[in-house]
């Protein structure tokens, strides 16, 4: 009886792969513009979840990891999508809010999420880099008006 478990697990894992997960990158309309130093840090640390330029990793094709990655990207894009920046900017108060949140979450070390940093060395920002991003975002927020 016990010998059947590995086989059942194998069948289950294979079956899971049949469930569709949409890994797509919709067209990017207008990216946030920032000094090169800032945008390269944001690209490395944030764009996989917060832009339409997601680099889908190989493991994102394998269930159940694919569902977690998909959820993160969908939820991340919904909350903050750098590729939609012109849409936020058409309401200065919204741009200001997003920038304030970027500053707050980056300085607090809450973004990028720890499990993403664990898998992506380039997303590990040191305290100095965090301060640079936060200061830039806070300054931009002041310029964006209320």
């Amino acid at each position: 009886m016990a010998a059947r478990w590995p086989a059942a697990a194998a069948i289950l894992i294979v079956a899971l792969q049949l469930m569709p997960v949409h890994r797509s990158n919709p067209p990017a309309t207008a990216d946030l513009s920032a000094p090169p130093e800032i945008s390269s840090m944001l690209r490395d640390a944030c764009y996989d979840c917060h832009s339409n330029h997601t680099r889908w990793p190989w493991y994102s094709a394998i269930a159940p990891v694919s569902w977690i990655v998909y959820r993160d990207v969908a939820e991340g894009r919904r909350r903050l999508n750098f590729s939609d920046w012109d849409a936020y900017a058409s309401d200065p108060g919204t741009a200001r809010r997003k920038l304030t949140q970027i500053a707050d979450l980056v300085i607090a070390g809450k973004m990028a999420p720890w499990y993403y940093r664990a898998l992506h060395p380039r997303a590990r920002l040191d305290p100095a880099q965090r301060r640079i991003i936060a200061r830039w975002a806070a300054t931009q927020a002041q310029g964006a008006g209320r």
Binding site: D84, D91, R97
Partner: protein, 114 residues
């Protein structure tokens, strides 16, 4: 004498209108939503398609709310007693939901564009 009053009154009226025109009396329509006691009133706005508009959000709640819409790419904090103006772009026909991200039990509202 009466005539002078009338002229003064008209002049003042004109001046006030000219001043406000710079900030709000633009062509784009303004809609008002009030947040109070865990509800948006009205919870549904009907708006004409392909025309920019402004949504004023007033909060009578006791703690800050966050007026947010994923579809509209809008996210604004409104403090108690405050009124904010949210710029909206010209939109295609459809239903665009909004919610209070600080109070997810507040029923969602929608902007219906026709």
């Amino acid at each position: 004498m009466r005539f002078v009053h009338l002229v003064t009154f008209s002049a003042v009226l004109l001046a006030v209108c000219a001043l406000t025109a710079q900030t709000e009396c633009s062509d784009s329509p303004i809609f008002t939503i009030r947040a109070e006691a865990g509800h948006f009133t009205p919870s549904q706005l009907e708006v004409a398609a392909n025309q920019p508009f402004t949504v004023r959000v007033t909060s009578a709640e006791k703690t800050p709310i966050e007026f947010e819409s994923f579809e509209l790419r809008r996210e604004r904090v409104v403090r108690p007693g405050e009124t904010i103006s949210v710029n909206m772009p010209p939109l295609g026909p459809g239903t665009y939901k909004f919610f209070d991200d600080f109070h997810r039990d507040t029923p969602e509202g929608a902007i219906v564009v026709k």
